[in-house]
Amino acid sequence: MSRRVRLWLLAVGGGGLATLFVAAALDLPAFGGDRHPYGDRAVHASLARHTANVIASVNFDQRAFDTLGEMTILFAAVIGCVILLRQTRDEHRDRPAPEKVARPVRRHALLVLPVALLTGLYVIAHGQLSPGGGFQGGVVAATSLHLLYLGADYRALERVRPVGLYETGDAIATSAYVVTGLAGLIGGTAFLANTVLPYGTFNTLSSGGTVPLLNAAVGMEVACAVVVLLARFLDQAVEIEEGNGK
């Protein structure tokens, strides 16, 4: 296919897409109006299943299959990074010496680490009640662990972070999501259907059926994935050097 034909094809396709976009934009409701047909139905379904956070209900109950896709996207992205950033044969590891950090910074980092970890777990656990959920809380928890690198140095972080354990945790959490979905299938309804657990009391921690379980699975998956991702980046930036060693 010559260059001119390619450009003509691009122009035709682009023109068609632009026409459809303009037609759709002219038909949109005004900004800030109060006509939300999909929103009304989603809120109604969420309240029927005693889930206070409608976003969590949409993510983990009404469209749980899409969230499974998003989780596997993160999983695949981390696998890709691990493969790209692995230590190759013409590189070697050069352990850095311990670094000196000002005392107020170190004290602050070590004080804030448990608070941030707890906040991450709190955000995961309250996903079905208040803004938050598995993804947000998982990232907060994983970032809090790296305060050990920022407040001390890389060797301190490596001691509390055996990477193999986190890689296994990532895989286990992804499987847990799928298994919870299969429970719906075995229970006689559909994959990822929210009918296997009682809906519980509205606005308490035990409400929403399978939503808290899927929240926990996604939280663990995201936290482990982020830790593994940062581990590869940190290894390449701080430890791995070119050449076959001195």
Binding site: P131, G133, Q136, F233, A237
Partner: protein
């Protein structure tokens, strides 16, 4: 008048995003991207989308700058080593 806050947030996002594109050096760009992340989170809050705002805060405040700066650090180290060998 509640729209005033929405207008302020939108203006801040527009200015930060333009600044993020206009700044060319990766290190300075990482600083601007960090501020852009916070301003985006405020915009999402003002438009009543707190879950999205929380995601933006979690990812954009510490994770994205760390990834960017580690990549820049690695490239600079390799450049310095090659310079020395030459």
């Amino acid at each position: 008048m509640a729209d005033a806050v929405i207008v302020v947030a939108l203006l801040l996002v527009a200015v930060s995003a333009t600044a993020a594109v206009a700044v060319r050096d990766p290190v300075r760009q990482a600083l601007v991207l960090s501020v852009l992340g916070v301003v985006l989170a405020v915009l999402f809050t003002v438009l009543q989308a707190p879950d999205v705002a929380l995601s933006q805060l979690a990812v954009g405040s510490a994770l994205t700058p760390l990834l960017l700066l580690l990549a820049v650090h690695k490239v600079k180290r390799r450049g310095r080593k090659e310079g020395r060998h030459r």
